[in-house]
């Protein structure tokens, strides 16, 4: 693993705070707006506040993917990808660096969302459940990071905003981040199961309802991450477009 590369990537993000602010502020605001009015209601085995808190954690994880796609589009625009092909950097390591970067970048939004949940919304969970929920939503960033990689390579730099926006909206909607799964129309429920966001939400929420991770959901999520990551590697290798 190349820690220098990862460190430079983090440095770049810190210098472009817009992306970070977007991915931290948006889920935090949504959490307060949606969560506060019904924070004492219960839902399944948990509170509505806890349910929304986890949804917004996933939302933050998804926006890290948006950040990845955006930064790759910029890198392609300036010919950085061609430059990398003139170095020994192996595509697999490149993709791993990008995915690790997403995992680092998702932490601030998770910390803010879960912090607000525990304080402002008064979410009370056992220590073990907090840890599992946190790990679950953190893991859910994996397939989105890989997805961001693919979008970054497929979308043209000038259309990336729209592609990202649309995908983000669909994934959040189908993943049950805005509307709980059992309140969706039937056809949407069918489609939802074919999205990584549904499984990400399942992984993160299972500890709320059952006190443990749903390992089937974790497997599906990892499957998504591997397939999307593989496509991402192929795109990296294929992309030699001139700046």
């Amino acid at each position: 693993m190349n820690l220098t590369y990862l460190r430079m990537e983090v440095t770049r993000v810190l210098r472009n705070r817009r992306i970070l602010i977007f991915s931290v502020l948006l889920p935090a605001i949504l959490l307060l707006v949606i969560g506060t009015p019904n924070k004492h209601d219960t839902y399944h085995n948990t509170t509505v506040a806890a349910y929304i808190m986890v949804s917004m954690g996933i939302f933050g994880a998804m926006s890290s993917a948006t950040g990845t796609a955006g930064s790759i589009a910029v890198e392609r625009g300036v010919g950085w990808n061609r430059q990398l092909r003139l170095t020994p950097l192996n595509p697999l390591r490149y993709v791993i660096s990008k995915v690790l970067l997403s995992l680092v970048l998702v932490l601030p939004s998770l910390i803010v969302v879960y912090g607000l949940g525990a304080t402002v919304l008064g979410v009370r969970l056992s220590a073990a459940t907090w840890v599992l929920v946190f790990i679950g939503s953190w893991l859910s960033a994996l397939p989105f990071a890989a997805l961001g990689l693919i979008i970054g390579y497929i979308a043209k730099p000038d259309s990336i905003q729209q592609v990202n926006g649309l995908l983000f909206f669909l994934l959040a909607l189908l993943g049950g981040l805005w509307l709980p799964y059992d309140q969706m129309p039937h056809f949407m429920q069918i489609v939802a199961k074919y999205t990584p966001s549904y499984w990400a939400a399942d992984v993160a929420r299972a500890p709320l309802e059952h006190g443990s991770l749903n390992f089937n959901a974790v497997l599906v999520l990892l499957g998504w991450a591997i397939v999307l990551g593989f496509i991402g590697i192929r795109r990296f290798q294929a992309d030699t477009a001139r700046a």
Partner: protein, 301 residues
């Protein structure tokens, strides 16, 4: 200094690339020995960049083969043998000079100390400034630093001095000279004959995707800097004229003949004694004019 790799640094055979109807590079054969400093000279659109892209494995040739130190280009790159500087782009604007060179260094198993490279490429003074805020000339030097960081045996530079002013251009070549003095092999593309003449041991001249001349700078200059004799000579025998001393090539235009000469005096002596040529003019070309003449496609009437 470490031992430099031996054997042919670059070996291109029958390299061809087409973009639709256009054949950008056509059957290029080129072999560069270790330690040579070679200029790939030609006007814009001659196929220099496409040749370099295929040589580095960035573009797949439609035909032919490129190898570096007897290996696939990407294998030589992975092995850290090659340092390349592309014509434009390839920099991350948010990082400082020091950071981007450190990043480039981190991609290699073995690399030179970053401070040494910053010094050598003349970028140490703005090491802490972000790359996006540097001038074009400064950015060019950052690219140069990145190409040197892995201590490469072969340096490939695509139009390294484009956009530099005279002063920066000179400084760049001074730094380059110090690098080549250590036995590195260098291939640089340029469209300045002066630059090729001053810094290369060997000039490879390209025109419309083909190599049209290959030799020492003095050889190339003799090709392009001769004189042209124009004379009226109806029904001239082109083959006989081409055999005259000092004549490089012959063209006819109606009743006129044009003789491109490396030694116009010798050619003129023969022409006046052996033929009925009259209305003779001898014209000398400026170096750049002649270069343009040689690299511009001539339409045969």
């Amino acid at each position: 200094m470490t031992n430099r790799a031996t054997g042919p640094a670059v070996d291109l055979t029958g390299l061809t690339k087409r973009f639709g109807e256009l054949t950008a590079v056509n059957q290029v054969d080129l072999r560069i020995a270790a330690g040579e400093v070679v200029a790939l000279l030609g006007p814009n659109g001659a196929g220099k960049s496409t040749t370099i892209d295929m040589m580095l494995g960035l573009t797949k040739p439609d035909a032919g083969r490129a190898s570096i130190y007897n290996r696939q280009p990407n294998e030589a790159i992975i092995d850290g043998k090659v340092g390349a500087m592309l014509q434009s782009g390839g920099l991350l604007p948010d990082l400082t000079t020091n950071e981007i060179v450190t990043l480039a260094a981190s991609l290699y198993r073995k690399h030179r100390p970053v401070p040494e490279v910053l010094e050598r490429a003349g970028v140490a003074e703005f090491a802490k400034q972000r790359v996006g805020r540097l001038s074009g000339g400064q950015q060019q030097r950052v690219r140069f630093a990145m190409a040197l960081v892995n201590d490469p045996d072969l340096i490939v530079l695509d139009e390294p001095t484009t956009g530099l002013d005279v002063e920066a251009r000179r400084a760049f070549w001074v730094a380059m000279r110090e690098e080549t003095a250590q036995g590195r092999t260098v291939l640089f593309a340029t469209h300045y004959l002066e630059e090729a003449d001053a810094y290369a041991d060997r000039i490879v001249l390209m025109r419309t995707g083909q190599i049209v001349a290959d030799g020492s700078p003095s050889h190339i200059k003799s090709l392009v800097s001769g004189r042209t004799i124009r004379a009226t000579l109806p029904s001239a025998d082109v083959n006989v004229l081409a055999g005259y001393p000092g004549v490089d090539s012959v063209e006819t235009r109606g009743d006129s003949v044009l003789l491109q000469c490396s030694d116009s005096d010798a050619a003129l002596r023969e022409l006046l004694t052996a033929t009925a040529a009259h209305d003779i003019e001898v014209v000398a070309h400026g170096l750049e004019d002649a270069f343009i003449a040689l690299t511009t496609e001539t339409s045969t009437p």
